[in-house]
Amino acid sequence: MDEASEVRRIASGDQLAFKRLAQVYLPAIEFYALRLTSNRALAEDVAQETLLTLWLKAADYDPKKARLTTWLHQIAYYRVIDALRVAQRYSSADAEVPDTTAEDATDAERASAAGIKNALLSLPERQRNALVLTYYQEFTNREVAMLMGISRRAVESLLVRARQAVRQALETANGSHL
C-alpha cells in the first residue's frame, strides 16, 4: 500500500482510502496511547482524535518529511500530553486497565506483566515515551529523535535510564536480580 497516495486520496475526500489506513493505524495508535497512559478511555479518545486529524488535515502531511506512522504518532503524543495535563490522570490511571496477558499465561508471567505496567507508569513521561516508541512501536532512534524533537544522543540517554528503571522495578517486585 502506497501510503502517500492513500493520504492524497483522503485529502480529496476518499473515505475508502481513509478506512484502509484507519484499519492499520487505529489499533497501533491506541496501543501507543494505552502504554503511555494505561487509561483505556483516554487511549481510545486519543486514537479516534488522531485518526480524525488524518481525515481533516491529510493535505498537511508531507511524505518527504516523515513516514505516515511517525506523523500520526507525533499527533497522538501531543494529544496524550494535553489530555494528561488536563485530566492529571497519572496517579489514577493504572486502575483502569486490567492486566491483559494471554489466557494461558502463568502466574509468573501475569505478575511480570503487572510489574511492567507499573514500572512503565512510574517512568518520567519522556523516558516512557522513548521506550514505548522504540520497543513497542518499533521506531528507529532517528525517528524517535525526530518525533520527540530531540537529538539521537538524547534519545539514547532517555532509553538507558528507562531500561535501568524498569530493571530495578522488576528486581524489586521479584525480589531477585535479573
Binding site: 486520496r9 496477558t101 508471567e109 511480570s112 506483566a113 522504540t134 532512534n141 538507558v160 535501568q164 524498569v166
Partner: protein, 147 residues
Amino acid sequence: MKAVISHHRVAQILMTYGARPEHWPAEERQAVQASIELSHELRALLQAESAVDRALSSYQLPSTASLNHLLSRVDSLASPGSCEVNRFERFINSLIPAELSGVWRPCVVALTLFIGGIYWGWEVSSLTDTWADTEHYAFENYLETDS
C-alpha cells in the same frame, strides 16, 4: 571492511536498545554482533538485557478501538455538498494515476485560462476587424460625399 566499534559502545547499545538486533541502530548492527561473538562479558550483558526484553514483551494489550465509530464520525463530518465534490474527485482520481491526483486541479485551471485566452483573443481580433471595416466604409463615404 568490518566496522570498528568499541567495547564500551557495544555495551551502551545493549543497555539502550536491549538484546534484539532489530532494535539496534542499523549502521552499527553488524559490528555489534561481531563484537558480542568475541566477548564473554558482552554475551553476559546480552543475556541480562534479554531478561528485560522478555519482561517488556509480557505486557500485551488487546485492542478495543472501534473502527465503526470512527468511520461514522468521519461520515457525519462530510457534509452532503462535500460528498458531491468527493464523488466528482473520486471519479477524476479513478481516471488518472495516483501520482497525478494532486496535479489535475492546477492543470484544469491552466487549461481554462488557456481556452479563455484564446476565446478572448479571437473576440478582440474580430472586433478590431469590425472597427477597421467601419473606418474604411466611413472614409469611402466621406470621399464619395466630398467628391
